[in-house]
Assembly symmetry: C2
Homo-oligomer: 593 residues x 2
């Protein structure tokens, strides 16, 4: 079916339901980063892929709001359709609600699906539309009516994470959560984010490629733990493990009704960002306590067992990358053609050689030359381009292992780098090491760390438009909160957190540079001024030195780099063959200032 046909069908349903404007996005009931096909409603309606985009349809107009990362992709997707592209990153462009307020008439009705919209967004729309004397309906899933071949919810089997990897039993975790609930004064706590359930009940899923968290909810009270999941996903082993821990298995779709049946005096924890509007309405009769998500805070602080396993995962990850690099240069020097896509497949194959590897932790960014400057470049058969022995090559990739989630970015020269490439690269490395080698006070926020990382780039008149780093889950999502190293994050860096540091420098149409290591927050010292923390480096993957302009790099960073490379040779060599070892030794040769 063509986009315009779908729009026409939607309009017909809107007319029947008395809806004057309908909002369609790609969102699932859990506010997950990766969404199963079933919930990709905007993508189905408009044909536009990507993580950001919202379609608005009225009786005589329709538009798709997206940010500058996706302008090109959206333009291609919308060609031939009546959907207009609204460039949401541009100055002066109205937001979707401003557009609605300016273009709809008093008493007209706006519809959206409250089952897939988080409470915070829904509240904001309802309030704004109400102020403009517009009506709102959130109980309609009009896309479901017209999407005849809509995919079913996925049924991927889940698997148990052994206590020897998790470092804490399900029983112990439940007990910790119940204690935190008491401190927060709440009696019921719905784990709405799927990774919360995975952490609490020590399992992972296979519903969505590159996302280890299956569709499920958990409701914890002092007496019960109800786990809402499609029973088809449970192996007998998983079932008995859950039952032994006192967990009751319930049907995924029962959650709404069971929430509605909670006693009205129940004090239930609500996080407006992480509960759908529909489920928030289901507990409207209870005493809602708006608070931080308990499990989000607990799982961000990794235990010793998790850190031990992650360290091993990162060594294997780096060995895989070295194997890949050896193959890449050898192939190209032998005249064998390599493309971004074939390189991506090879890199995954190198990771898959290691036991415990499950899948990529996110779609690899294989940015050769100008493609490296596209921040969210995702190679596919259409965008695929040859890799040559000329420009520089940015590779941002990671693996989801049973023993940890990895995320590594390196930028390598494929030919002789230009002076500008060397300067860009060296300033990025300088920034990365400024943060990696920092000592900082307890209670330091993500924004403070972000500023420190950018300092060297700013001094050289450069900057990058993405965040500096993010938390990483243990065998869970590669982007995990609450910490976030960005200019507006007031979250504090806590001991035991695992984060990335990944500054970059991008020149549109020319090249992109990013260097990313993962780090573990550890104690540095304690004195009369309080506690001080530092980062323990976890990534041991060579940082190319042909791209370094030594005069820009501080002396202590050059020393650090030479020691780092010696350590890498020691750690990775056992996993490599002779050819790979030779490549690594050359790549890790010391440099002088």
């Amino acid at each position: 079916m063509q986009t315009n046909q779908k729009i026409a069908l939607l309009r017909s349903e809107m007319a029947s339901a008395g809806i004057d404007a309908f909002i369609v996005s790609n969102a699932d009931p859990h506010h997950n980063e990766y969404v199963a096909d079933r919930w990709c409603c905007r993508e189905w309606l408009s044909g536009m892929k990507g993580s950001a985009g919202t379609v608005l349809v009225t009786a005589d107009w329709c538009g798709l709001w997206t940010d500058s990362r996706y302008y090109e992709i959206a333009l291609d997707a919308l060609e031939g359709s009546e959907i207009e592209l609204i460039r949401a990153s541009d100055i002066g462009v109205p937001t979707i609600d401003s557009w609605i307020k300016s273009n709809l008439k008093t008493s007209q009705t706006i519809g959206f699906n409250g089952a897939d919209t988080d409470l915070k967004q829904a509240r904001d729309w309802i309030k704004k539309f109400d102020q403009a004397n517009l009506k709102t309906r959130s109980d309609l899933d009009l896309i479901d009516i017209i999407w005849k071949d809509r995919p079913a919810a996925p049924k991927g089997e889940l698997f148990i994470v052994d206590d020897s990897y998790a470092g804490q039993t399900i029983e112990s975790k439940i007990s910790t959560v119940r204690q935190e609930m008491k401190s927060a004064g709440v009696e019921a706590y719905l784990l709405g984010r799927t990774d919360e359930s995975c952490w609490l009940l020590n399992f992972r899923g296979t519903d969505i490629t590159a996302a280890p968290t299956p569709y499920c909810f958990t409701l914890v009270t002092q007496d019960n733990v109800n786990f809402y999941i499609d029973a088809a996903k449970l192996t007998p082993q998983a079932k008995s493990k859950f039952e032994a821990a006192g967990v009751t298995i319930k049907d995924y779709n029962a959650v709404k009704t069971e929430l509605e049946q909670l006693n009205a005096s129940t004090r239930i924890l609500i996080s407006p960002n992480h509960i759908s509007y529909q489920l928030a309405e289901a507990v409207k009769h209870c005493m809602q306590i708006e608070s931080r998500l308990i499990v989000t805070d607990l799982k961000a602080v990794k235990n010793e067992t998790e850190v031990k396993h992650l360290k091993q995962a990162l060594i294997e990850d780096a060995a895989a990358i070295v194997k890949f690099y050896t193959w890449l240069y050898t192939s190209l020097r032998n005249g064998d053609p390599v493309t971004e896509l074939s390189a991506s497949h090879k890199l995954e194959a190198c990771r898959a050689e290691f036991e415990g590897y499950r899948h990529v932790s996110f779609d690899s960014i294989m940015g050769y030359g100008p493609d490296g400057a596209l921040n969210h470049y995702c190679v596919d058969e259409e965008s695929d381009k040859p890799v040559l022995l000329e420009n520089i090559f940015l590779i941002d990739s990671g693996g989801n292992f049973t023993h940890g989630t990895t995320d590594t970015t390196r930028t390598i020269p494929m030919g002789t780098p230009t002076q500008q490439q060397k300067e860009d690269y060296t300033v990025v490395l300088h920034s990365m090491l400024d943060l990696l080698l920092l000592e900082f006070a307890e209670d330091t926020t993500g924004a403070q760390l972000d500023g420190i990382c950018r300092q060297a780039l700013w001094r050289h008149g450069r900057n990058f438009k993405h965040g500096t780093g993010h938390g990483v889950g243990f065998g869970l999502e590669v982007h995990e909160g609450p910490q976030n190293i960005s200019g507006t994050s007031t979250e504090k860096m806590k001991l035991g957190m695992i984060s990335t540091i990944e500054p970059g420098c991008y020149r549109s149409g020319e090249h992109g540079i990013r260097i990313e290591n993962m780090v573990h927050t550890v104690i540095s010292r304690e004195n009369e001024f309080g506690k001080f923390f530092k980062f323990e480096n976890l990534t041991f993957c060579p940082i190319n030195t042909d791209l370094i302009e030594p005069s820009i790099l501080p002396k202590n960073q050059i020393e650090w780099l030479n020691n780092y490379h010696q350590e890498i040779i020691n750690k990775l060599s056992p996993y490599l063959n002779k050819e790979e070892q030779a490549w690594l030794t050359h790549e890790c040769r010391p440099i002088n200032q």
Copy 2:
């Protein structure tokens, strides 16, 4: 009357009104930093002075919540009274609302004065008490009933700021505000903060010592500007200037009634932090648009005229400090006794020599030796101590001039400094200059800048517990938003903003060090990565070099300091006599690494 007698009277009024717990704080209807005596209800009731403290009285208990800055002061004030000190900064100590929820019974009633409580605080209390099935009343001013000799509202005469200082006429400012109101989609805008009215209508007041903003409100619509003020404060000149600009003078107390009479369809701008609960209730029938305060954003960006005048004010301010220092050292070397208080008076007298000086911009912090380590030390006759030729002396002071508000901190040695003092001092200076000399990207937040400033201190195992800097008003409040350089401020630094940079290092019982300059955000460069900003230094007051340990300071900072001191000699000498010039020349001698 003794505190316990006042508490007894309050309990009697509480009983008559059916109130089980009553909350008393020092707050006025504008949420001002400096509060006139009339609104110092907590201070009157408990005897405890200071900017932070809240009393809770129940039928059989009363407590005063305050933070660690005020523990000692509160203990002294509460001695002999039944009020218990609640150490709010300590871990595990309940907040006032948690205490209430734990100690009151269902259906009991909590009272507070909604006229002096901001909407955000009131909403939070009402919501929390409601969740605990407690009732709330906000319409009672019980203190007013029992405080028989309560001071009247001040009647300080206001004065006009000439356009040649303001740099923009009242008419032009009103027109700018109306344009911003259109963009924000609001039809009415109550200027609830008193400094908003001062800026808009180019006047200052004399209601409160060290605070240039008198009690008043302004209500702006597209048709009218109503200025609510006690008419006794208006000179004929001021009256005619306002009338010529189309401003209607109304009685201060009429604001509530007039807000109640606004048309229900009026879209009124509300900022929950800056409107009292009572006035928010008065416009409850209108369409409330919660948004940023328009004038707060406008006045933070200083115009060229303001900056030009402020630069002159800061030169005069520095000359006054040099005169003071010359007097201080001469007096002590002559054997004349000097105390913190007498020094404070002398410093003010030195500033008052300059035309346009009105009053201190805040109570001077004169911290000799251990007193310098008390972050909010305020010298008075009780705390006064002699200044000797031994320890180091932290002086944080400023003046409110017609042509600008100043804020300068310097730390000077009175004898031979210890190595630790030199190291502390040098690291603080390093931190201050790291930020002052920074180049940073547009959209950089206060938290990013804060992190950069602390970096050198952290590296040396030191830290300080206050913010790094704040905005400064033009002849207005010395602490002015929206920008704030602190670990949790996500406000962006804009071109034209005036801020302080004031890192410190404090050793309890020993000494305190702080060095503070004022800076102006200006453009540095623009390229394909965007705009870059830097700080223009505005403070030209010598930075003592006897306290510097040169091996800690980067070479470029030593060079900067030597140039800075040469510039200071050039700028300040014309204002100084021979003796002062000689002192300055010695103080500004170059140093080597």
